[in-house]
């Protein structure tokens, strides 16, 4: 083999090596960041005012987007299941399958993705701007730990509020299925609700809420991590925001599979 071919292969392998090393470095930094942030949740001082504001920002103000997503998803799901079920003369499964699909899968995942789009981006942009304008350095010089003041309240609030948000979303989604089922597909209202209730188990609800808590943690963690390590200028903040949404969304989908395997 000629030297030039060896050099090309060498360069190619070196590039792969660099990419893999960079990936592991990023994962390591994220894990350390997460561990540090979680440790600050349990150590005083606690910023209750900041925690309360984040509960409102992440939870209450995400309700419309999560609610509307769930409502339309529940309605569409009822139509699809009815259409699919008709092929096996199993139209009657619509209420139970809508409920199970919403509670176990679509409620947490779609809710998580919508909140990732809204909250991860907002956290990354806010912290990124604070980084660029030296507000995070200013916090440190004012004897305030930015991890404790900025990151820990967001992480805790998102982890606690996401299950509540998803529970409300699940209910609205089932309601969407109910509205379509009774008005469009000819189901009797009382029978629809009875079937929903009969086939839904506590494990379905609990597994969905555990997923929601994990997704809330992921959304806040990646928003905070990317914002906290934002590059300089408008481009740096823009990149941090994009990275936050993309990485949170991918991680939500990946962890959803792992959690589903665990609850399967």
């Amino acid at each position: 083999m000629s030297n030039s071919v060896i050099q090309v292969i060498d360069g190619f392998l070196a590039n792969i090596g660099r990419t893999v090393l960079a990936l592991f470095e990023s994962i390591g930094q994220l894990v350390i960041f997460a561990a540090l942030a979680v440790s600050h949740i349990f150590r005083p001082p606690f910023y209750l005012g900041s925690f309360g504001r984040q509960l409102m920002h992440i939870g209450f103000f995400s309700l419309p987007v999560v609610g509307l997503t769930a409502l339309f998803t529940g309605g569409a799901l009822a139509l699809q299941i009815y259409s699919g079920g008709a092929r096996f003369s199993a139209e009657a499964v619509v209420p139970s399958v809508v409920a199970i699909a919403m509670v176990r899968e679509l409620g947490p995942v779609l809710g998580g993705l919508m909140v990732a789009g809204r909250v991860s981006a907002s956290i990354a942009a806010e912290l990124g701007t604070m980084r660029v304008t030296e507000q995070i350095d200013a916090l440190t010089t004012l004897s305030t730990n930015p991890m404790k003041y900025l990151v820990a309240p967001r992480l805790l609030a998102a982890t606690l509020v996401m299950p509540i948000l998803v529970f409300i979303g699940d209910t609205i989604g089932i309601m969407g299925g109910f509205l379509v089922g009774t008005n469009r597909l000819g189901f009797n209202g009382a029978t629809y609700l009875q079937n929903t209730w009969n086939f839904l188990e506590a494990d379905d609800i609990i597994s969905g809420l555990i997923k929601a808590a994990v997704f809330g943690f992921i959304v806040a963690l990646l928003g905070c991590y990317n914002g906290y390590h934002s590059g300089r200028g408008a481009m740096g903040v823009g990149r941090a925001t994009t990275n936050a949404v993309v990485s949170a969304s991918v991680l939500i989908l990946a962890s959803n599979y792992i959690l589903t395997e665990m609850f399967f």
Binding site: T133, Q135, T140, T141, L142, S143
Partner: protein, 248 residues
């Protein structure tokens, strides 16, 4: 007293500080000058522990910034940032009294607000500014709020990072005068970074010029025009030609 010995800091291949030695006695005002990108802000951030130096020693009143209680260490400092670095989401009075509202010895909101209003008055701002958000203020007013925040807890040491950058000459004069008055009044130790020679002459007891990662010249303000140092002469007289390359 601040003592910095043989401080080195690089970012990748970019060597920023390569053996900086600085000494500031208690109650003195040192002004650090030098071209853009010569590491003046990095020096301040190393002292505060915001950036970890590669090597060298930093001692503030005999204490290393990264050893022991960080909070107690930082309690000694006040800092005016170049862009103000005011917290967008908080009204002016909460920005000014931020430190007073945190920690074990935090004050009540009423007391903290009274102190904030008093500090705002000290920097020439009316009490009505206290309830405004930083975004509602002009650049000069934001600098003054930043200054009020830096002095709110009456720190022993104050850092000023380019206090007059972006301000008109009159406002620059006002800020220079305020900085000097406050440092003298409080008996604080001060380090100021600036390119503005009117600030240097107004604020400094001592001057240090950083060039190519080291302190090129240091001495009392009175000696600045007769130093005989070609680098310093070029810088203070704003000459485009000389030992400092204009294109860096």
């Amino acid at each position: 007293m601040i003592s910095i010995k043989n401080l080195h800091k690089s970012f990748g291949d970019n060597v920023v500080l390569s053996g900086v030695n600085v000494h500031v006695s208690a109650g003195h005002s040192l002004v650090v000058i030098g071209g853009s990108g010569t590491g003046k802000s990095v020096l301040l951030k190393c002292i505060l522990g915001l950036i970890t130096p590669d090597s060298g020693t930093i001692e503030v009143n005999g204490i290393n910034p990264n050893s022991g209680n960080r909070e107690a260490f930082l309690d000694q400092f006040g800092m005016l940032f170049q862009g103000g670095a005011l917290f967008d989401s908080l009204p002016v009075w909460q920005n000014v009294s931020f430190r007073l509202l945190q920690g074990k010895h935090r004050l009540s909101k009423d007391d903290a607000r009274d102190i904030a209003v008093e500090k705002l008055r000290r920097v020439g701002l009316k009490a009505s500014v206290a309830d405004q958000l930083p975004a509602e203020l002009s650049g000069g007013m934001q600098k003054r709020v930043g200054l009020a925040r830096a002095i709110a807890a009456e720190p022993e040491i104050i850092f000023f990072d380019e206090p007059t950058t972006g301000l008109d000459p009159i406002m620059s004069g006002v800020i220079n005068e305020l900085v000097r008055e406050i440092v003298v009044e409080m008996g604080a130790t001060a380090i100021t970074i600036t390119h503005d020679m009117s600030s240097v002459r107004a604020i400094a007891d001592e001057v240090a010029m950083i060039h190519e990662g080291v302190v090129q010249w240091t001495g009392p303000i009175g000696n600045i025009d007769s130093s005989g140092d070609p680098y310093l002469d070029q810088f203070i007289n704003a000459r485009p030609h000389g030992p400092i390359e204009s294109v860096r």
